[in-house]
């Protein structure tokens, strides 16, 4: 590709897509020194390049490489580009266990090796076995991913044009005909539409997070009908593009990610990330331990130390502050208790973001499913929607 066919999160920074495309070909060789963890990430898990705390605690350095987040990009990095023998940890939007575990690419996580795991109450609350969020980190009753980031998505709107909006119905409201944008992604836009159709009683959908062929076909038919009526102005593909759609007021209602709203607000825009009555599209990033045949026992030990570090307060606060997502329960407290590292305004920001995302998780909605049972049918139906 086209490097331009970006899916969720990978376009978080414009530079990322470029480095991701380049990264396919230039995966680093395993460092000769035993002291480096090779860490593949989609641009969210980089604490501003500062791994000094981890290095001081473990003796290991971290070599971070940006990769794309599309399922194919992730699998390509691990399989086609020899990444399985290169990387120790990959940090991507979770829910990829089926392809990763079935292809023997990642290891089961021994949670006892991470002291911070037990302190992460989010796991028990939202992501543990039996909870709907389990699909982001677990597979067949085992844990394969360490949750690093949690978030609930909805849509954004310009209140000066639309007034207050509180339902996904706004995306399909004829009042905003031609002023609506969707993300080009069946696991986000498709699933949000399904959530709306289900809650509004417009379609019989048992699980918006894992639809049957008939159910997803109903969603596609609905979207095609809306498209033909001229409801949508554009479907966007990159972070910058979505931000521009908001800041130029090209559209008034846009299915998008919250950090885009943060960026638009920082440019002086009056834009609101909606609190829809149907709930949110919930998701989590997971750090997977790559089944790397070249790794020694000591290196595996260091990889576990890194996973544990990522569940800790400093890393969590840093990522929340930089990226705007909730990370772990220690983050806000750590930022507040360490003013030398996190000035008051940053600590406040970490606390606010954490509280806001927590509220979303308590409210619920639907858990994004990155690899639904009928994923190929989703893809071909989405093609039908786009081609219609």
């Amino acid at each position: 590709m086209n490097p331009w066919n970006v899916n969720r999160r990978d376009a978080l920074r414009l530079a990322l897509s470029v480095s991701a495309a380049a990264g396919l070909g230039v995966a680093p060789r395993r460092a000769a020194a035993a002291g480096t963890i090779n860490f593949a990430d989609i641009g969210v898990g980089d604490p501003g390049g500062d791994w000094s705390k981890f290095k001081a605690a473990s003796g290991y350095d971290v070599n971070l490489v940006s990769i794309g987040n599309a399922p194919s990009a992730v699998l390509n990095v691990l399989v086609a580009s020899g990444g399985q023998g290169t990387y120790d940890v990959i940090n991507i939007v979770g829910g990829m266990q089926k392809p990763l575990v079935d292809n023997d690419l990642v290891e089961k996580i021994d949670t006892a090796r991470m002291p911070n795991w037990a302190k992460d109450t989010y796991v028990q609350e939202f992501l543990g076995n039996g909870k709907p969020g389990f699909q982001f980190i677990g597979y067949k009753d085992e844990i394969y991913g360490v949750p690093t980031v949690l978030q609930g998505d909805s849509f954004a709107y310009l209140p000066e044009k639309t007034g207050q909006l509180d339902s996904y119905a706004a995306l399909f409201d004829p009042k905003w005909k031609g002023y609506v944008a969707l993300e080009d992604n069946y696991t986000t836009a498709g699933q949000k539409t399904a959530l709306y159709l289900k809650k509004a009683g417009l379609a019989k959908i048992a699980n918006p997070d894992d639809m049957t062929k008939e159910e997803f076909k109903a969603v596609t038919d609905f979207l095609i009908d809306q498209k033909k009526k001229g409801q949508f102005r554009v479907i966007w593909n990159s972070f910058e593009q979505a931000v521009n759609l908001i800041t130029s007021k090209e559209v008034y209602v846009i299915d998008c990610w919250e950090p885009m709203v943060f960026v638009a607000k920082s440019k002086g825009m009056d834009v609101v990330y909606a609190d829809p009555k149907e709930g949110y599209l919930l998701w989590a990033m997971a750090a997977y331990l790559v089944k790397n045949p070249n790794r020694t026992a000591e290196q595996t030990d260091a990889a576990y130390k890194l996973l544990d570090f990522m569940l800790g307060g400093w890393y969590g606060a840093k990522i929340t502050n930089l990226r705007g997502y909730m990370t772990n329960p220690q983050a806000a407290t750590y930022a507040k208790d360490n003013p030398a590292e996190f000035p008051a305004d940053e600590a406040k920001r970490v606390a606010e973001i954490t509280a806001n995302v927590r509220r979303k998780f308590e409210q619920g909605g639907t858990w994004q499913n990155r690899w639904p049972t009928e994923v190929e049918f989703y893809e071909s139906e989405w093609s039908r929607f786009k081609a219609a």
Partner: protein, 309 residues
């Protein structure tokens, strides 16, 4: 005397015999082999693999060697064939439009201006290639959006009451993106073939009483056809494979074949992506074959060499 010398020069063997000649001959062969090896490794082998994989079978997320038509069969009746059809139509439209514009520019440069000026203008037409294609396309969204420069100016001038929605995220925007991306490529072969037409034919036609239009229709156009076809090929191949323009300027899922190939790879359906690619490659090969059968390529390439000399 001069003529004799000239004849002797021609009669001289291309290189002197002996060891020097031997090495020169082999050096020449090796040099000729390099591009062949390059084309073989970087073009023929990957294309061969693509065609081969298109017949493979899927086994879960992976695929295994086989001779299966499943990927091709799955195309029948699906949306992807519509996408292919649309891609062909859009590529044809964009190529035709580009051809008209590029021909006019090339004709003007080859016939109506001083060669020195023509060269400067031709150099200017290479400037778009120096700008990243994504930047170029995104710039259009800034220019043509509802609150963009063009709409703001049109509304301010009273030409229209409300911003024109069709300027962006529309068929128009896609055509504009494709034409501005590939039309400059097409000027060069057209300029070469028009410039190489012997002016005496045109003067003779005028002397015999033909109108400028008749001269153009019966002399200039037919003689420039190899250039027209080369230009059309450059444009068509580029437009058919384009994936950034429809994504950035097309609006609601304006999908062309390049996009649907990428999309099928997202669910790791490599055989399907390979099948779609193979169909596109086959179409291109047929076009090339047509070019080869209809035109003598040497006439066109020979003119490039003349022009450079």
């Amino acid at each position: 005397m001069l003529a004799l010398e000239h004849r002797q020069q021609i009669a001289k063997p291309p290189f002197s015999v002996g060891w020097r000649g031997f090495w020169q001959a082999w050096g020449r062969r090796v040099l000729l082999c390099l591009p062949l090896i390059f084309v073989g490794i970087f073009l023929v082998v990957p294309l061969g693999l693509t065609v081969m994989i298109s017949f493979w079978e899927r086994a879960g997320l992976k695929f295994r060697p086989a001779f299966s038509l499943a990927s091709y069969v799955s195309l029948i009746g699906g949306a992807r064939l519509d996408v292919l059809q649309r891609s062909l139509i859009v590529a044809l439209e964009a190529t035709a439009l580009s051809l008209v514009i590029a021909y006019a520019i090339a004709y003007f440069l080859a016939r109506k201006v001083e060669p020195a000026t023509a060269r400067i203008v031709l150099v200017l037409f290479t400037v778009p290639f120096l700008i990243n294609y994504i930047v170029r396309n995104v710039s259009y969204t800034v220019l043509l959006g509802r609150t963009g420069v063009v709409n703001t100016a049109l509304v301010a001038a009273g030409v229209t009451d409300a911003p024109l929605d069709w300027l962006l995220y529309s068929d128009f925007a896609v055509l504009l993106g494709l034409v501005s991306a590939y039309m400059p490529f097409m000027i060069f072969p057209l300029f070469l073939s028009i410039g190489a037409i012997d002016r005496q034919y045109i003067e003779a036609s005028a002397l015999l009483g033909a109108s400028p239009f008749t001269t153009f229709r019966t002399i200039t156009l037919p003689l420039s056809l190899p250039g027209v076809f080369a230009a059309a090929l450059f444009g068509f191949v580029g437009c058919l494979g384009e994936s950034a323009v429809p994504i950035i300027l097309g609006g609601v899922g304006y999908e062309l074949i390049g996009n649907t190939i990428t999309s099928s790879m997202d669910v790791l359906n490599y055989p399907l992506a390979a099948a779609l690619s193979s169909i596109v490659i086959l179409l291109m090969l047929l076009l090339m074959l047509g070019w080869y059968l209809v035109f003598d390529m040497r006439s066109f390439l020979g003119r490039i060499l003349e022009w450079r000399a």
